[in-house]
């Protein structure tokens, strides 16, 4: 199936994508960074590492939504990019994968959302540690960027730097709690 054309959004703008997605049966290019499937990585790990060691191209890996990050936890030192596939908007597994990669496995490379990336999910993705987004080429980027500004208040800490509302609140007493004069117990009426 032909992949629809995409544009890469990073650091608030559309940038040229230096990475190349290489299919499982496609020969590796002589040079240049490549993104391969988990299966290919597991099959050709040594060749890919050798290629990277010879400075012929960094290694990126794409995880399908049924491929959790635990299987690559030990490999992250060799990877400069992990792409997380969002096959349809209902499939939210990769939000957990993103947080685990950042928070538990301390992955500092590029975390890229690929697949069915939607405007109204960008902010959730960024909050989970994703820092690059493959948008449909037809996306009105200026409009899509506004999605990052939809909210200025967050109720929970996530992977981004945003502080939760509870950490910011002014806790001067809102009102004096009134002392309950009455006696607790079970009373008939």
């Amino acid at each position: 199936m032909e992949k629809p054309p995409v544009a890469l959004l990073k650091n608030g703008q559309i940038v040229a994508d230096g990475w190349r997605r290489v299919g499982d049966d496609e020969p590796l290019p002589d040079s240049g960074p490549v993104i391969v499937s988990l299966a290919r990585w597991q099959r050709e790990r040594e060749a890919l590492k050798a290629r990277a060691n010879e400075a012929r191209g960094s290694i990126g890996l794409v995880l399908n939504s049924d491929q959790g990050p635990a299987s690559i936890a030990g490999d992250l030192a060799h990877l400069d990019l992990v792409a997380l596939d969002f096959p349809r908007f209902q499939d939210g597994r990769a939000y957990s994968y993103a947080r685990l990669l950042r928070e538990r496995y301390k992955f500092t490379g590029e975390l890229r959302a690929v697949g069915n990336v939607l405007r109204d999910q960008l902010l959730f993705m960024r909050r989970c540690g994703i820092d690059a987004f493959e948008l449909p080429e037809t996306a009105n980027v200026r409009e899509w960027l506004k999605a990052f500004e939809d909210f200025s208040v967050f109720y929970q800490r996530a992977t981004d730097k945003a502080r939760a509302a509870a950490e910011l609140r002014d806790r001067r007493p809102n009102r004096k709690p009134e002392k309950a004069e009455a006696v607790a117990g079970v009373w008939s009426y």
């Binding site: 959790g68 908007f89 209902q90 499939d91 939210g92 597994r93 939000y95 957990s96 994968y97 947080r99 928070e103 538990r104 939607l118 109204d120 999910q121 902010l123 959730f124 993705m125 909050r127 989970c128 939809d150 909210f151 200025s152 208040v153 967050f154 109720y155 929970q156 800490r157 996530a158 939760a164 509302a165 509870a166 910011l168 609140r169 002014d170 806790r171 007493p173 809102n174 009102r175 709690p177 009134e178 309950a180 004069e181 009455a182 006696v183 607790a184 117990g185 079970v186 009373w187 008939s188 009426y189």
Partner: protein, 556 residues
């Protein structure tokens, strides 16, 4: 009750602005209905049979009189003059126009309300014991923790696209009024052997097409660890819950498939691994939230009010209402007054705009301006002076809200059914109305005693039929609306699932069937025995016999 500060208000206002933009994109044709559906669902907006339905969150069932008045206003201005209280302690408007919804949400935001996460595959409105804070039998008020969970789960970036919807309920009393064992997560406040207060955690209960009573996975969770532990459960579910089949996507299916023991191990392992990053609630923050739930300024009153006692003697109807609808309060001289939204022959859970305005006024006059919604689709004034009960009852009675039937056979839970819902197989509301009329004689229902009848119009079980003492399930049989009858369910601390008693009935005969079951119980019970006790003692055989004849019971 909880009051928004600038952070809470900003978030809700920003959500309204975001949704306004989404609706504009839809109306301008930039979004297809397929693209818009998940967006509107995340804001509680469903497309039903005849119109849009907007479901508004009532966090843990607590409302101020100001909010109730806003409901009345919205009902008049944007709907047909009434609203419908649901089994998730929410309020639904059934006749909404898409283009009005941003304005309705803005009106709601002006009284600290929203419709976030009342649908969609996310953590839904948090429910709790409707008597929290006033129940005579509770360990501690759960509302501060319900609010903590509400905030944590709101627009949670990791858990907004779960395999399926996710419902959390809290209770703090040995008598569970929040049905916690039939929720995705049920949290029961408890004390450990050292006397510390924490939560017992149940996971994977639920109704729907595959009902389960949830197993316990943690006997004692310290309060401070609540959010971290919830996050571990949700993460395990988000990563491992099934996404290939919508009917097998709830957490209960996962818990059942791997077994409670293995599921517990997965959660505990995830919880231990996330120790560094688990969300915490600071003591300052829980103290800030708890301060909103301090008891109101109760007066020091004697335990009894002679005028009240006299009124009960003189007015049998008032006495019946007190006996049936008033519950014990933890404070001397006060009572919890239940307002039944189940008038005989009426639509369960419906309230007109005028009734809502009246209830708001009565809450201001008699109950510190607070109203609660119950999952059984009734309302509560939680803090009424015993001496005020008579005036309250009279005002309610004059407005058609004086039904003295709380917990009785006519206090029926029913989903909207085929009158509104695009999923339903059969109508629920007319069946509820006819059962109510059949059993509604005051003397008769009092003699029958406590009886929970619950009606769902389809297998999704919004009417909780699996946990009805008598459950009724609408099914489609060759294009005809039919009804299965189930017996023996319960959603309280001794939760059990009802069993189908036999072949289904049609819309004409189902009411006779229910009546026959009730009469059979009354004939067979020992003195003081409840329906559930009789059913558990005798099993289905005598009921089958009365419904289907000797042959059927013999075959059972």
């Amino acid at each position: 009750m909880y009051k928004y500060d600038e952070y809470d208000q900003t978030l809700v206002d920003e959500r309204v602005a975001q949704f306004r933009g989404q609706v504009e994109r839809r109306l301008a044709g930039e979004l297809t209905e397929d693209e818009f559906r998940p967006l509107r669902l995340m804001n509680g907006l469903y497309l039903q049979l005849h119109a849009y339905m907007l479901r508004i969150a009532v966090p843990y069932g607590t409302l101020s009189s100001r909010q109730v008045r806003k409901f009345a206003h919205i009902a008049r201005r944007y709907d047909k003059g009434f609203g419908h209280f649901t089994t998730r302690q929410n309020l639904q408007f059934n006749w909404i126009k898409l283009e009005d919804t941003p304005d309705i949400l803005a009106e709601l935001a002006s009284v600290e309300m929203h419709a976030m996460q009342t649908s969609g595959n996310c953590v839904r409105n948090i429910t709790a014991d409707q008597f929290a804070g006033v129940a005579a039998d509770e360990i501690e008020d759960v509302r501060p923790w319900a609010e903590v969970i509400r905030q944590w789960s709101t627009l949670h970036p990791e858990f907004s696209f779960l395999p399926r919807k996710f419902k959390i309920a809290l209770s703090a009393s040995p008598h569970d009024r929040a049905a916690i064992k039939v929720h995705d997560i049920g949290l029961g406040m408890t004390r450990n052997s050292a006397g510390e207060v924490g939560f017992v955690v149940y996971v994977g209960g639920g109704l729907g097409r595959t009902p389960f009573v949830g197993p316990m996975i943690r006997e004692f969770l310290p309060k401070a660890e609540l959010l971290g532990y919830l996050e571990a459960i949700l993460r395990v579910y988000n990563m491992f819950g099934r996404r290939d089949n919508i009917f097998k996507a709830r957490i209960k299916i996962l818990v059942d498939a791997v077994g409670a023991e293995e599921f517990t191990r997965l959660v505990e392992q995830e919880y231990a691994a996330s120790a560094d990053t688990a969300p915490q609630v600071s003591e300052d923050e829980i103290a800030r939230i708890a301060a909103f739930f301090q008891p109101p300024a109760y007066q020091r009153l004697p335990a009894r009010d002679p005028a009240h006692d006299r009124a009960r003697l003189e007015m049998p109807a008032f006495d019946r209402w007190c006996r049936q609808n008033v519950a014990a309060h933890r404070v001397k001289g006060y009572a919890i007054a239940n307002i039944s939204l189940k008038p005989i022959g009426g639509i369960p859970g419906d309230a007109s705009a005028d009734q809502m305005d009246l209830i708001a006024d009565l809450a201001d006059r008699h109950s510190f301006g607070e109203v609660r919604v119950t999952h059984e689709q009734n309302l509560v004034l939680p803090d009424v002076k015993i001496g005020d009960l008579r005036a309250l009852w009279q005002a309610l009675d004059e407005a058609g809200l004086g039904a003295a039937n709380l917990g009785l056979a006519t206090d029926i839970i029913a989903c909207p059914g085929l009158d509104y819902c695009s999923l339903a197989n059969a109508r629920s509301i007319p069946i509820a109305q006819r059962i109510s009329e059949r059993l509604g004689d005051d003397e008769r229902q009092r003699k029958i005693g406590d009886l929970k009848i619950k009606i769902s119009g389809c297998i999704n079980a919004c009417g909780h039929h699996h946990v009805g003492h008598i459950g009724i399930l609408g099914v489609d049989r060759k294009g005809e609306e039919n009804y299965q009858i189930l017996l023996g369910g319960s959603a309280d601390q001794n939760a059990s699932l009802a069993e189908v008693i036999g072949p289904s009935f049609n819309a004409d005969t189902v009411v006779d069937g229910v009546e026959r079951i009730v009469d059979t119980y009354v004939a067979l019970r020992t003195p003081g025995e409840t329906f559930l006790q009789t059913y558990r003692r005798l099993g289905p055989a005598p009921f089958k016999e009365k419904l289907y004849g000797e042959a059927a019971s013999g075959a059972a």
